[in-house]
């Protein structure tokens, strides 16, 4: 057990999985000797050799396309996309191929692979080093989509993703890479995919969130508490497949719901959470289902602190929802 950053937890998860299973390998742009631009794959090349952790040419299509072939043929590739913003050249391989291979081959060919990618704002990255594209992938049956928000979950969910028989998109909140720390067991362990995490129990308003928004919501909840509002915080963490039962339970519990994410609002992930509730337990709702999200614009650089939901914006929504 050690108190480590989320970044280190990712690195340890990879290391543990590679030690455990010789078919696991890591690759992508600059993941080899350099250790990745965020150092998530640091020291893996020196420990496991160039055959198991290595650089690729500058082609996300090639990275994911070859990873699919490896996965079909007995390996467990963990492919890195340097920034989630650069995943789109591989979109076809992900949505047309990885997600549909098992289905279209009647289960003859499968793609047990993981795509790791840092996502989200907070580093003054402008349009192309800040995006949160989870909704694009969550609309794609056949994929799993996971976003951890703590070091413990990062390691446990990553190992679970690598062991999973299906393709998993593992999105890492880069804003939390070095800003959160937590206790993480030294040995390998898994956190079940498709279970949500209750961050904090509360009675007045339920807030659904994930990734880098979790600490923001925690701050907002602390402020709300000062105003006498008790917030129930849920970290969804596996976005697809979602623990729908769990979401409905938590929504019913307070009858008041706020959903928070960084991505643009329109057709964002929050819309699905809202629609699920409105479709199944609307009769429990005592207030409008609010969304606090990035704006429906590209991601701006200088003004990113206005673009990203902060505790103040979340607090507003909690207060309005509680007071409705």
């Amino acid at each position: 057990m050690a108190n480590i950053t989320l970044l280190k937890a990712v690195n340890e998860g990879l290391r543990g999985a590679m030690q455990n299973d010789p078919s696991v390998l890591c690759f992508g742009e600059d993941v080899g000797p350099k250790g990745g631009v965020f150092l998530a794959t640091e020291n893996l090349t020196s420990e496991f050799g160039e055959g198991r952790c290595f650089d690729t040419p500058l082609s996300e299509d090639g990275i994911i396309g070859t990873a699919i072939g490896m996965a079909m043929n007995g390996l467990r590739p963990v492919a890195e996309i340097q920034f989630q913003d650069f995943i789109f050249p591989a979109f076809d391989q992900i949505v047309s191929e990885a997600a549909k291979m098992r289905y279209r081959s009647g289960g003859q060919y499968t793609v047990p692979m993981v795509i790791r990618t840092p996502y989200g704002g907070g580093i003054r990255g402008g349009l192309y080093h800040s995006q949160s594209g989870e909704a694009y992938f969550c609309h794609t049956p056949g994929l799993k989509v996971v976003i951890p928000s703590t070091p413990y979950d990062a390691k446990g969910l990553l190992i679970a993703a690598i062991q999973d028989p299906d393709p998993v998109l593992f999105m890492e909140p880069k804003a939390l890479y070095r800003s959160v720390k937590g206790e993480v067991p030294d040995e390998n362990y898994t956190v079940d995919l498709s279970t949500l995490r209750s961050v904090k129990e509360g009675d007045d308003v339920t807030v659904f969130c994930y990734g880098a928004m979790v600490p923001v919501v925690e701050k907002a909840a602390a402020l709300a508490q000062e105003k006498g509002i008790s917030t129930n915080i849920v970290d969804l963490r596996t976005l697809l497949p979602l623990d729908e039962e769990g979401v409905l339970e938590h929504a019913k519990r307070t009858g008041r719901v706020v959903i928070v994410h960084e991505a643009p609002r329109f057709c964002g992930y929050g819309s699905e959470v809202s629609a699920l509730i409105a479709e199944n337990v609307i009769e429990y709702m005592e207030a409008p289902i609010k969304r606090v999200t990035g704006f429906d614009t590209p991601f701006p650089n200088t003004l990113e602190h206005h673009y990203l939901p902060d505790e103040r914006r979340v607090l507003d929504a909690i207060e309005q929802t509680a007071a409705y």
Binding site: L75, P77, R104
Partner: protein, 372 residues
Amino acid sequence: MSTSQLKSVIQADGASPGYDPGLSDAELLHMYRTLLLTRAFDDMCIKLQRSGRIGFSVPNRGIEATSVGTASAFRKDDWFFPSYRDFGVGLYHGVDPTDMMHNMFGNKLDTSKGRQMPVHFSFVDPIHLVSISSPIGTHIVQAVGAAYAFKQRGEDKVCMASFGDGGTSSLGFHSALNFAGVWKAPVVFTCQNNGYAISCPNEMQTASESYAIKGLAYGVPSVRVDGNDIFAVREATVAAVARARAGDGPTLIECVTFRMGGHSTSDDPSKYVPKELFEHWAKRDPIDIFEKALFKSKKLTKKKKAELQKECEEQVIAGVRLATDAPAPGLEEIFTDVYAELPDHLRRQGEMAFDLAKRKGSADAGDGAFPL
């Protein structure tokens, strides 16, 4: 080997002096028989489509030697990532045409459980003939990854990937050749240059001197062969497979051939293919060319030819009968194989679908209970 000169083996009179295919008489006849079987299967599919019994097919006429020549050069335990114009490859390696016919009908016995359009085969047995995808070019780069896996485990197997002239413009081609070159992956790329990508002729597809020359951009050795000359295809592919197996990396083979029909059964090529082209290539039919070689070397008699032809046709007809009789896939097959395990939301959607089908009195619903 040259990237622009066209390499042939079988001469106009059927002789192929100096070339030894390294095959027994039985193997040569198996090649020949596979060509016939491919054509019989192809013709039958077009007939089935014309009469409304299946929805779609992709004519293979003219391309048969490219497929079968390629198939003859690799082992059963190698993996093949096919184009959709490769009926001959599976058939050569022992895929039962009846199993292919199940796919054409999209029935319960189709290995893809009726999920894919016709001609989108998938087999793991008797060979790995990887599930065909409609998006052009995606499989080429997957083949490189699968080849890397062989290499990483120290197995001496290779991956074969086959695609059209249009396929060279795809992203998958670019990534595949690039990665294969850098990784020295044990993979062989076969470009079926059949003159057109649907209606797009070669000169609107690329300004390069040939398709083979594209290998140079990736440090991948390339060769250009007569795709209607089964020995030329075999010779190049045997060499490429040997290179790959020896750890010397990938090869690109351009097989120059011609699509003797529409792109698919939905297409009318008379709108864009000059008649003279069809006339020219009709004289270069790949089965005729091989037949001439076999007659010349006395491996084939007229009688044997007639016998094989009949056999192949009957085999295909038997397949049609079985495929017609097989029922549609069960309704639950909409929901399985999305994931290894059925998630809750799909279970609920499946239950809803069964309930509705039952109320509609639909045959597919079985007893109306979601069985999973």
